[in-house]
Symmetry: C4
Subunit: 233 residues, 4 copies
Amino acid sequence: MDLTDLKAAVCEANLDTVRTGLVMATFGNASGIDRNSGLVAIKPSGVPYDTMSPQDMVTVRLDGALVDNHYKPSSDLDTHLLLYRAFDGIGSVVHTHSTFATIFAQAMVPIPCFGTTHADYFRGTVPVTRHLTETEIRDSYVASTGQAIIDSFTDLDPMEIPAALVAGHGPFVWGRTPAEAAMNAHILEECARMAWYSMQLRPDLQSLPTALRDRHFLRKHGQAATYGQEEPA
Amino acid sequence: MDLTDLKAAVCEANLDTVRTGLVMATFGNASGIDRNSGLVAIKPSGVPYDTMSPQDMVTVRLDGALVDNHYKPSSDLDTHLLLYRAFDGIGSVVHTHSTFATIFAQAMVPIPCFGTTHADYFRGTVPVTRHLTETEIRDSYVASTGQAIIDSFTDLDPMEIPAALVAGHGPFVWGRTPAEAAMNAHILEECARMAWYSMQLRPDLQSLPTALRDRHFLRKHGQAATYGQEEPA
Amino acid sequence: MDLTDLKAAVCEANLDTVRTGLVMATFGNASGIDRNSGLVAIKPSGVPYDTMSPQDMVTVRLDGALVDNHYKPSSDLDTHLLLYRAFDGIGSVVHTHSTFATIFAQAMVPIPCFGTTHADYFRGTVPVTRHLTETEIRDSYVASTGQAIIDSFTDLDPMEIPAALVAGHGPFVWGRTPAEAAMNAHILEECARMAWYSMQLRPDLQSLPTALRDRHFLRKHGQAATYGQEEPA
Amino acid sequence: MDLTDLKAAVCEANLDTVRTGLVMATFGNASGIDRNSGLVAIKPSGVPYDTMSPQDMVTVRLDGALVDNHYKPSSDLDTHLLLYRAFDGIGSVVHTHSTFATIFAQAMVPIPCFGTTHADYFRGTVPVTRHLTETEIRDSYVASTGQAIIDSFTDLDPMEIPAALVAGHGPFVWGRTPAEAAMNAHILEECARMAWYSMQLRPDLQSLPTALRDRHFLRKHGQAATYGQEEPA
């Protein structure tokens, strides 16, 4: 993907989070990476969504060096970069303050897999990070946020659970492409909403049986996926 | 109804579920049957709603044999076919992941008839299916989902309760026509929403008295219906 | 107000309930009365809102006799007529199944006056009717619904509390004009919503102090009203 | 800022509260002050939002004297004036009955800082005022409302917590400009919504750690702010 296409896809993912109601004001940010060149395109900091265009996206290298500098990059840049360096398979990161995912993040409650809507996109519970230490907050807040996400995936596959809730903050979501990451952010919000209401309706509710969960996840993901119109050649 | 009209009505029912907010992404599917020819038209699998047109609907026979094969049919096809074979009076099936109906399905809580809004369309509690066995999930997931719905109607009339909640998954709804099935799906979601809030407001709430429930159901359904402008000849 | 104007105002009140999200499908109905002629205009039964026009409104006398008969009147006509006969000051009745007012009606919980939003329009708790007897449901359902509303106002002034919740059914709301009744229905829904969430947040919440409640109600209603631009001459 | 610009900015802030869903009917009001001239522009009382234009804004002096008198000013004028006199740094006041902020006001529950969304705009708990006495309600209701807000800031900095909940009534929000005050009202509503759901999900939830709260507040406010594109010269 050349840089022009990457910026267009990243801009579109940013705008998609607005269209699906996941962000208000200037909250949230989406980025994408071209793994060949190692270039990352990311939303600029604090720029209004209604006038945002692909050329406003800021380009940086994977080590954080600015490639162009018309705008300052999103203040969450370092979190994105740590995720790209730690999770090889991902091509995009989307951060929102979407209402229900943020509620779980604030309450530090992981989102269990209660139904097939969740299982179609997330193969199990979406984790919450630990709280950062005061030192981390003072000295390396944004990078430590990324590290806390990575720490919460020690026993999880980020390609199977493409999201984490940052304690007290909100969701970071990823995918192979900006469009997929934005879609995952949208689905996560709906799953969080349904989980909240399910837990109130039945406080003793257990996660979906593993067989049913995997039946749904695997029909949409991996070698044996059968959903949709794209046939293996 | 000829095949062109059937496909148009089925496409419209699919789009109606989007307009009324019952589906997001590519979730959900609607089908319809022409009882004379035995042909079923159903949404294709994983095709975006915003470019969907009547000719995209996939035609199959009641035994599942494909009549045309431009697209793959919805992955839930076998569930629809079992319902058409078991419930003689129905002409359409609509499946959604609409928020509140799915919440009850996830929590495996049937939706009681708490008010006349519910009673106008559903003559009693909307049931939840049993969970499928691991063998059913592995060997015949979609057909077994249909069978579980049918099993939950042993003592119920599917023309009086035109919906079931599949445990851990979401609602399947039906009607005599695609328009009616889509309407029933819309009403079910609103009744599920109101039931959830009613149960929180008053955890000991009982179902509507039978006399009041039947007064409402029967004024809109059956021989003695009086609602609306259509007079018996 | 001549009949043409009355029908236009009643049609507008019906459409207003759709615009403000209080009705779905063909639920709900609004009527208005010209007290000079004794003529009532009301929504026809089961007619879609999106093609509704003033000339579709059905005209009846206060005793229920049809004046024109292009359409059948709303199936709730008799409830409206009883209210006009019992409550001299009202010029319009609006019935909806709006979500939160219906939730309180289903749960048979009156809506307390918890805040000034409520007090600006309703001088105290909005009552719930008794349940009808089986005989009433069978023999005179719609008229008995009106009578149950009237019975719940034995100690209340319908000009100060312009709404009642019919048990298991939904709200009936009124006002001096169709526009005012539609507005009251809209405000009632928002007050019901806020009451529901307030009661969950603080189960022991008490009604607003009487002095504050009356300060708000009386600045908008009665001889000494000061709100808005209309100055006494 | 000259008077024409002030009226335009105040009108826009009023309309913004409608666009962001914070007000219904004629509820709510926004004002702004030009600190050089001491002139305040405020929404007229009870005028519909859909025809409101900048020249409809009413101009008064800080002591309440009317400068122009085409319309009566908002009935909440005296509350606004007290806030301008007590809080030197503010340039605009916005009052709404937005759903969740009003729910906390009705329940007299302060809104804790549970997450970074809140901390980005409010450096701690948003307070609730005391209830007014019957004498205050009778003799000086609107001014006493302002005084109760001021009393709740004895130990708080109004530039760090730019909002208060008036008990039984709703939120008053402020900012340096009308646009900022309207934005703060919008953010407050979203924070109140998320707080409500967070408290139900986890009744024992504590406020955000102070270090994390201040990290977020101070990156957007004060001398050392780093967020957005405006660089210190």
